[in-house]
């Protein structure tokens, strides 16, 4: 498989008119026309869920540091250069200033403009106050080469959970960080942001491709781990009138993809650690999208196994994702226009799959 991919790329490199190298990832980077007629092509990179964690003082968890350092160094090697990088949230583990500062220092080595998404681990210690000092607004939108990009803060929750419930900010942070936690609370964007989104979308023509970045999935997958956004149905309804909508989300530390109406959902990997699939782990019913090809469990020896980052290209209004995965075959989740949904270009065919390990 790998050989085929490489030779495709070589063929492309040899025949491309520009003569510049067209991507160091082993992918067939076909020249893609994007969006509205005549819109320019572009690419961007996506790094997420680094969970930089302070041990004490200047000491941070080495493994998580290495994941982010490596993703940044590799993204800087990309050719052609991506137009920008998105960091998909959970830069810190427990939202402290030292963690956010240490993470920001590593991210600052990126040679590109970087857009930030808020994760719950960045937020629930001080409700995003220090993060704002570093990165500004929690939700915002911008236009780039004919595409409308929206970044949401999707990890808010009910006010009565957030305020006046916990004896300390640290307790609040820890409660939100737990999985299958009966004290937890579902993620939301909240009424104020919902209204902002409504107004933002009102200005956009229906044939403009839309890409939404959120930390949590804007679809309901598994509530116990907050693979969930409470107003997912309402948000999807707001996005429904647009011809082409793409939602890219972090939080889940695994590859997921799904199509709901016109909306293509794709998750990204964590640079820190993988989560298993809820269906293989949880005692509760899982709504994991059926298009998803399960990942094998990680090799505990190799700290980078089952972690990675993404290189994305636009494809007629759709986002194609190249997953750069260490100790694993790289994977491509691309929008299949004939089928009308994203799919794994290699492993959708069961013949090509590496049998997943079923016992843990």
């Amino acid at each position: 498989m790998k050989n085929i991919a490489v030779s495709n790329r070589r063929d492309f490199l040899r025949t491309t008119m520009s003569g510049v190298i067209a991507g160091m990832l082993p992918v067939s980077l076909v020249r893609l026309s994007y969006g509205k007629e005549g819109g320019p092509d572009f690419t961007f990179a996506y790094i997420s869920d680094s969970h930089i964690q302070q041990v004490k003082g200047n000491q941070f968890v080495r493994n998580w540091d290495r994941g982010l350092i490596r993703a940044v160094a590799e993204a800087n090697l990309l050719e052609p250069k991506p137009d920008f990088v998105v960091f998909g949230g959970d830069l810190a583990q427990l939202g402290s200033k030292p963690e956010l500062d240490h993470g920001a220092e590593m991210l600052a080595k990126l040679n590109y403009k970087t857009f930030m998404v808020m994760g719950e681990h960045d937020y629930y210690l001080d409700l995003g106050e220090y993060w704002s000092k570093l990165y500004g607004k929690h939700y915002y939108s911008w236009n780039h080469k004919g595409v409308h990009f929206i970044t949401l803060n999707s990890i808010l929750t009910y006010d009565d959970w957030t305020f006046d419930r916990w004896e300390s900010d640290e307790r609040r942070m820890n409660e939100m960080a737990g999985l299958d936690n009966p004290n937890g609370s579902p993620f939301m964007i909240g009424a104020k942001q919902m209204e902002w989104l409504r107004k933002d979308l009102a200005k956009i023509s229906k044939d403009t491709p839309i890409v939404v970045f959120s930390h949590s999935p804007l679809q309901k997958i598994y509530k116990g781990w907050n693979f969930w956004t409470e107003e997912a149905d309402d948000i999807q309804a707001m996005l429904k009138p647009f011809d082409k909508v793409n939602v890219i989300y972090g939080h889940v530390h695994q590859i997921q993809y799904n199509q709901i109406g016109n909306i293509a959902f794709t998750s990204v990997m964590s640079t820190a650690w993988p989560w298993p699939y809820p269906e293989s782990y949880a005692l509760a019913e899982s709504h994991l999208p059926i298009l998803t090809v399960p990942m094998n469990r990680a090799d505990p020896f190799n700290e980078r196994d089952a972690t990675g980052w993404q290189f994305m290209s636009m494809h007629t209004g759709r986002v194609d994702l190249e997953f750069n995965l260490y100790n694993n075959s790289n994977r491509t989740i691309a929008f299949n226009t004939a089928k009308g949904h994203p799919e794994d270009t290699t492993f959708t065919d069961p013949e090509n799959r590496i049998p997943a390990q079923q016992h843990f």
């Binding site: 190298i21 090697l77 020896f301 196994d305």
Partner: protein, 385 residues
């Protein structure tokens, strides 16, 4: 070298009762993989040996394969850090031993050749090795030598004019497949249950090898044999640590040149910085940046110095490098592309010494006598065993 099946069965009977002995050969090695299109014959092996040692296949007429793969030095050029070709030109890489290379799934430090046959093509024409202008120069010598013509006719059934590099490399590979060695003290202890074969310290070292040292995850051993490699490529912080700031520029320049037709074999042996890109130069994968093939540990005690660039002089330095989490000096910066398997080990001084003692127990009988001279050449004082 050949043991009787019965003797081996008895010897290992206590340890691995249910495992049949499949192949004759040195203790501790798997069956010899031989390509179906290149079977071993005594005549072919003899021809390969002669080709391997023929200095005429070099631009200056004084370098052969055996110049860097010296039989008396366990088929390395120890104690050189990197090999010397014609006119003392130096390459960028430490000569890997031919011994047990037959078990490798790829050849060269970066795996750029799939097998011994393909590997043998390249040094003849590499400008810093034997530097022939092309393979025709070699074939002209072979075709003009009546003894070679007779041998090739007998082994391959080809006339002088029909001899090609295919026959030449097949003969060399057949010779190289005879250079296998097991029967080390470790093998006699672990696979044959000979309790006194290695010291208590080496046994403790083996425990560390399996446990705290995290060695066995890459230097793999199997139920009934051990080649001590996973045949994979890992960035362990050698070489690339010294060029960290240059990686983006080097990687880009290399990719541009490669896509314009650069000869990778020439490039990686001509420029030290490019050499440190490692497997990336071969497969273009980010995850291969600065990574090199896991080398065998057999006879490691007699093949100093170590690593792809020969930058570590002793086995203790090697263990300390791993113990530091992929940096030779604890204060050195870790490279961003470090393999996820490499991390600080927090080994005790005792565990480090034990690991070295374990590796010293991996020397086959035919190379035991090299130990004293190897240690002396590496400038190490004292006797470790």
């Amino acid at each position: 070298m050949n043991k009787s099946l019965i003797a081996m069965s008895i010897a290992v009977g206590n340890l691995i009762l249910a495992t049949p002995i499949l192949a004759e050969g040195p203790l501790g090695l798997p069956g010899l993989p031989v390509p179906t299109d290149n079977p071993q014959t005594p005549e072919k092996i003899a021809l390969g040996s002669r080709l391997f040692n023929d200095v005429r296949f070099s631009a200056t007429g004084d370098v052969s394969c055996a110049t860097c793969h010296v039989a008396e030095k366990a088929f390395t050029d120890s104690p050189l850090s990197v090999s010397e070709g014609i006119r003392k030109l130096t390459g960028t890489r430490n000569a890997p031993t031919v011994v047990n290379a037959a078990f490798n799934k790829t050849q060269f430090w970066d795996g750029r050749s799939p097998d011994l046959e393909d590997q043998a093509l390249h040094p003849f024409v590499n400008p810093v090795e034997m530097a022939l202008p092309n393979h025709d120069a070699l074939l002209a010598i072979v075709r003009g030598d009546p003894a070679y013509v007779q041998s090739f006719s007998g082994v391959f059934g080809v006339s002088a004019a029909a001899i090609t590099m295919k026959e030449v490399t097949r003969a060399i590979a057949a010779f190289e497949r005879t250079q296998i060695s097991g029967d080390s003290p470790f093998d006699r202890w672990y696979f044959a249950g000979e309790q006194d074969a290695i010291s208590a310290q080496a046994k403790r070292g083996f425990t560390t090898f399996l446990g705290n040292g995290r060695c066995v995850s890459c230097h793999a051993i199997e139920q009934d044999f051990a080649v001590f490699t996973d045949h994979l490529f890992h960035n362990i912080g050698i070489g690339i640590n010294n060029i960290q700031d240059k990686v983006p520029e080097l990687a880009r320049a290399f990719q541009v040149a490669k896509n314009a037709g650069l000869d990778v074999d020439v490039a990686v042996l001509s420029d030290a910085d490019t050499s440190h890109l490692g497997r990336f130069a071969v497969d273009d994968q980010f995850s291969s940046m600065g990574s090199f093939k896991t080398s065998t540990l057999r006879n490691i005690d007699v093949t100093a110095p170590y690593m792809h660039d020969g930058s570590l002089k002793t086995l203790r330095e090697v263990v300390e490098h791993y113990n530091n989490g992929g940096v030779t000096k604890p204060e050195d910066p870790v490279n961003p592309f470090l393999s996820g398997g490499i991390r600080p080990l927090n080994l005790t001084e005792q565990e480090i010494d034990d690991l070295v003692a374990f590796m010293e127990a991996l020397t086959s009988p035919q190379f035991q006598s090299l130990k004293a001279q190897s240690v002396a050449a590496a400038g190490v004082s004292g006797d470790a065993q």
